[in-house]
Symmetry: C3
Subunit: 394 residues, 3 copies
Amino acid sequence: MGCSAYCFHCLFDHGTPVILVVSSKKVGFIFRLLQLCIIVYVAVYVCWYKRAYQERDSVISSVSTKVKGNILTNSSAFGTHVWDTSEYVIPPQGENSFFVLTNAIVTQGQTQGSCPEIPSEFTNCQSDSDCKEGLKEIRGNGVQTGKCVQYSETIKTCEVLSWCPLENDTVIPKPALLSAAEDFTVLIKNNIQYPKFKFRKRNILRHINSTYLKNCTFNHKTDPHCPVFRLGDIVTESGEDFSIMALKGGIIGIFIDWSCDLDFNERFCVPKYSFRRLDNKNPENNVAPGYNFRYAKYYMNNENTETRTLIKAFGIRFDVIVFGMAGKFNIVPTIVNVGAALALLNLMKVICDWFMLNCLSDSEYYSKHKFKHLKPKDESETFSFTDQSSYGTP
Amino acid sequence: MGCSAYCFHCLFDHGTPVILVVSSKKVGFIFRLLQLCIIVYVAVYVCWYKRAYQERDSVISSVSTKVKGNILTNSSAFGTHVWDTSEYVIPPQGENSFFVLTNAIVTQGQTQGSCPEIPSEFTNCQSDSDCKEGLKEIRGNGVQTGKCVQYSETIKTCEVLSWCPLENDTVIPKPALLSAAEDFTVLIKNNIQYPKFKFRKRNILRHINSTYLKNCTFNHKTDPHCPVFRLGDIVTESGEDFSIMALKGGIIGIFIDWSCDLDFNERFCVPKYSFRRLDNKNPENNVAPGYNFRYAKYYMNNENTETRTLIKAFGIRFDVIVFGMAGKFNIVPTIVNVGAALALLNLMKVICDWFMLNCLSDSEYYSKHKFKHLKPKDESETFSFTDQSSYGTP
Amino acid sequence: MGCSAYCFHCLFDHGTPVILVVSSKKVGFIFRLLQLCIIVYVAVYVCWYKRAYQERDSVISSVSTKVKGNILTNSSAFGTHVWDTSEYVIPPQGENSFFVLTNAIVTQGQTQGSCPEIPSEFTNCQSDSDCKEGLKEIRGNGVQTGKCVQYSETIKTCEVLSWCPLENDTVIPKPALLSAAEDFTVLIKNNIQYPKFKFRKRNILRHINSTYLKNCTFNHKTDPHCPVFRLGDIVTESGEDFSIMALKGGIIGIFIDWSCDLDFNERFCVPKYSFRRLDNKNPENNVAPGYNFRYAKYYMNNENTETRTLIKAFGIRFDVIVFGMAGKFNIVPTIVNVGAALALLNLMKVICDWFMLNCLSDSEYYSKHKFKHLKPKDESETFSFTDQSSYGTP
């Protein structure tokens, strides 16, 4: 045979393994059963449930929020006061996290100066020797001057340099100042994108009209696509009581799940909302429970010294957390999974072979026919021509 | 044979399937063609296009932004007023989302009190009976006192407790107060990290010097790596008209794509910028179009009552959205894909076998040689020794 | 044979390849070696190191932060002044990025008006002709009036309309105003979730009690799970010097790594903290080094004109960056990897076959027995019945 003929053979000869067909019901049954399991697993679990034939991408998103509502309060700190959005939403701009004030401790007319500390085990004193000039007690409110002064008729505390008079936050207003905030509504606009699939969508769906949007309120059953949420409903759905949570504040997560199967029409890709409290309300293994922060409004008083109103703001921070994965058919993961399934089917064959060659009464008989034992050439030049007899020495 | 000899056989015997080589041009041609397809698919699509041999990681990023520019306006609300960054960027700190004020409705000298509502279908009244004490009309601006009072000479509206005088936002200044804001520039600093690959980079590339940075402006063609962007350019590139968008505001996404192939030198890993409007400018299926929020500056007036200037701020919120996936060669996905390709090549063999055994004129002849039919032992003890004749009963 | 009998055969016949067993120590050794490599690779690298049998999900997180500490400063700009959290944390609300003021340039009593520019190569002038009315020099501080006025006795600069007097930020206070801020502590609360596995956890672990939390400070060795961090420690761990960084500010990343193997008990899933400077301190290929922004406090002065105190705030922005991937056993990736390993084992067989058929002295002998060459039917009707002799024509 010439070289070109050899190449031709290389290219177009088709090698196919010689197959021994065994007519054993046991082995056949086991094999078909295993095959069926693999096929059912691949069809049901891999394809239908896990959609492993899909390429995946995670969502990128942009959120804007807008809170609405007015409250009239009548408290000793504020007098009769109407609260509007620009006062109780801090900061006023609605991004993917917004804070609604529900309670406040107000300290008016603070100026830089010195005054007695709020009584506590770290600040109480008997004489000047209990106070240390320059000490910045981490649980205190200022820098000690070293003097021990009268806080009230009976209690003496160290004097501090600070914004005076000091805030006394030991008593929290109860009921919460703005407990009526549960009637406020928030409009959440969310724009998402799956860059790999060039897919974009808004949470205000295309078939919803402006009239509906202006009057609806979100409800899981009746209005699942309305982007306007009542704060009280959000808190209730996350399993909390608004009036209790309003006292010390907390963090509520508004989860928007955009998990989508993009092999279907894009109109099936809709956001699913859920709500959950994120901070720990359990007083054990906790520190600084609730959610609060201090901010101040600065003024110049008539003597042209800087004065401020310090507000310790308790309230609920709502975190809009957008997540989700989109899947779309792609040939690479498909082939990877088909390949894995084929390899498994092969493995099943090997298992059946093993069963056939070890567990059946006819095993030796099958193995005799399945294996052709070939001895190294030197010792078996003639032997190989009588290979059927080699079946006798497994 | 002894036991150790048996183990020795187990360990070092090599089993290889007996192959029937068929010299059929048809089958050979189909097989090679299928093989070629698989190899081309793996080489071109899987390896080159999808880079399926790579392990992936998604980006984590930190952004800081700084807006620059001054504007002189001459409006009835502000008089001659020069705006600097600390006034029109709200909040002043530049994080991955910054807001530039472009238009404003200013209501000066508000104090807590009562005043007639802004006329609307919900607030107009004929007599006190049309108003309800304590009502917090959600589309209103305060809490009704129950009185119906003169708003203007011809219109009567319900009186409300609120910050008075009320803001009238029915007329938006046109052209926008700060429409010249399109000349502002923003410096975006972005620091990214792919934790899995311990890869870090900045959007200010290493070969760029400070002199260039101080004078350049981003341009897709001429300055694609300059981190200083003109606001007007961003808006134009996202397909919008700045002067129109400045009226009612909106949200623009500044997308920074850090998709990288880390098998190449890290200097090829550069950010790609793109811009797109994120909010819905379509008036249908929309509510509260544009982007605005209210904030207030608080003062103590001469009678020591709290006074505020309320500003309804319209403007453009720029969201810097950093995304991307980096890939780097890893043996696990490589082997998974090689394995899948091998499984596919095997499948091609099976397909060719099926073709050979079913679609060719010589099928029966091939099948006679490929299959050795083995009957269960009891009925065929002798038969098996004459297995060539079993080819006659497929 | 009838049709049903044929179907029966199709269903329960088991085909198994006929195997040629070669007793060659060389081939056997190579094969076992390759097999061992694959198995070790799969067991050690794929399963143990890469955990490729796991399904993965990325973390979603919510962060709240609270800074504590007081500082007494004595500077020309502020006089004796005690700083509390509401003053030096800007904005006051603790989200996943918080800014601590460390240095400041204060310009008091600014009102809208006209004044000479700060001298620089762009603003110095000799006469009015060097200034251009209406010019908004991008590196300047206002809109030029067109006049050239005396800035100091020797220097003349263009006059601008702006908030006057202008801020002069050429000299930065040194040492930093609040360089003592390194003693401040920050409490970081982090709540994470892996939605795919319905797994939730907090960085305040369940076994930690409130008493410990109130007194601990994070330390990699002694207190790795304490959520209270000293700012100075954070900066030191990221390889910086607080007193130097405090001068011009910067950005520090607080990385919380939640990478977890959820096949183990959830108590092993704990956050790992690390710290790194994110901005570029290198003066080359940099612009606007450090981190600063300007904000203002607005007042009405006695003549009822708006006055402001402008503060150029230098400081450290701490970005809490939460990342991580959780893995949990799942059958789909397991089977994909098992499939790939099986395909590899098969490939090893092919390689051994190739070695056996090409590199051994007995190659021809082996190949004679491995391959049964089958000629097309027409030319070889009789030949096929003597296929053992076909071994003679490889």
